[in-house]
Symmetry: C2
């Protein structure tokens, strides 16, 4: 698959690198592609990277997502699957969308884009290496389009997330559920003093 990754930080490199290793065609979207180095795949101007892509991975820090997507514009993102993995916290560590979600806000702002919220409950080091834990843990998906979720599910599997470890929570309004988990995610990591940790759903 042709995949554009928005962002060049730790999360972007983890996901982009994992998907490149799995054989997908990755391009990092950058404002300064010539100045990027050390990326696990080539960089290109954002509008060009996104234009060629089947799937766009939004791996920008949460608070910058809306501005970055707006600069690309709805036309560039129309018809694309947007795998949206951000958590949106204010500088004083509060949810910028309390009782709501960035994922649903992005879907509302870009109605022709197929937004799938996922991976935002997972610590960055595990995103592309879920087998780093001693037993299976869980990743969630939320989105309005079943085909888009199925495509994202395939990409998660390519990153090591066995389909049996994936739980589809429903439509994009359920991004609220996973985004509100951020406080418990941080509290667990802080209490246990490790980011090599995740939750598993036990039934």
């Amino acid at each position: 698959m042709k995949i554009a990754v928005l962002g060049t930080g730790r999360v972007a490199r983890m996901i982009g690198g994992g998907l490149a290793t799995a054989g997908h065609h990755i391009v990092f979207a950058s404002r300064n592609p010539a100045q990027q180095s050390g990326l696990p795949a080539p960089a290109a101007e954002a509008i060009s990277a996104v234009g060629d892509a089947d799937v766009v991975v939004d791996a920008i820090p949460g608070a910058a997502v809306m501005d970055a997507l707006s600069m690309l514009g709805p036309a560039a993102l129309a018809g694309k699957i947007l795998m949206e993995v951000a958590n949106d916290l204010s500088p004083n560590f509060e949810l910028n969308y309390p009782n709501a979600s960035l994922g649903a806000a992005v879907q509302e702002a870009f109605p022709q884009t197929l937004v799938v919220k996922t991976l935002n409950t997972v610590q960055a080091p595990l995103m592309g290496n879920p087998s780093g834990l001693p037993s299976p843990s869980t990743v969630f998906l939320a989105g309005n389009d079943a085909v888009a979720k199925s495509t994202v599910s395939t990409l998660l599997a390519a990153l090591g997330w066995d389909p049996g470890w994936q739980i589809d929570l429903g439509d994009i309004s359920q991004a609220r559920a996973t985004e509100h988990f951020i406080f418990l995610s941080f509290a667990i990591a802080q209490s246990l003093n490790t980011t090599n940790v995740n939750i598993a759903v036990i039934r």
Copy 2:
């Protein structure tokens, strides 16, 4: 231990019944103790039940907690351990304390009470029966007083929560972390169509 349980609903009966079975002295605090039937332990007037208790279990629906505790008054609750297990949602299913928590608000309103937030991430049927799942799952604690948390930890163990399944998240401000989990908890139960489900922290 002498334990007063505030509330007579499903959660109150589950916790009170479990602790009574474990040999603790349970009294349900009620406005109409003579009219209660089918409880797993006796009922008494709230002020009398709380007055005799070492530990008070707050198992009232979240939105009613502040009013109920205020009717008891700070003096009745001073020096008591308050095991606070509520989630506080509005009728339209939004957090009444977004970016904050009922647990911390109760601690602030009752500074002489030793508030310990726990069990609020767990589905009611599992609270007193955590072994009902095929593998261990996790329960969290948050509170300012280490001795109070240790006492609550003992009570959780009496309910079947092995100490190794308990995670102390820190002070009462971490009630925010577990209360914000409510949306994910509901989404998981809805997606899997069961309340016989919990999360386990995998490290």
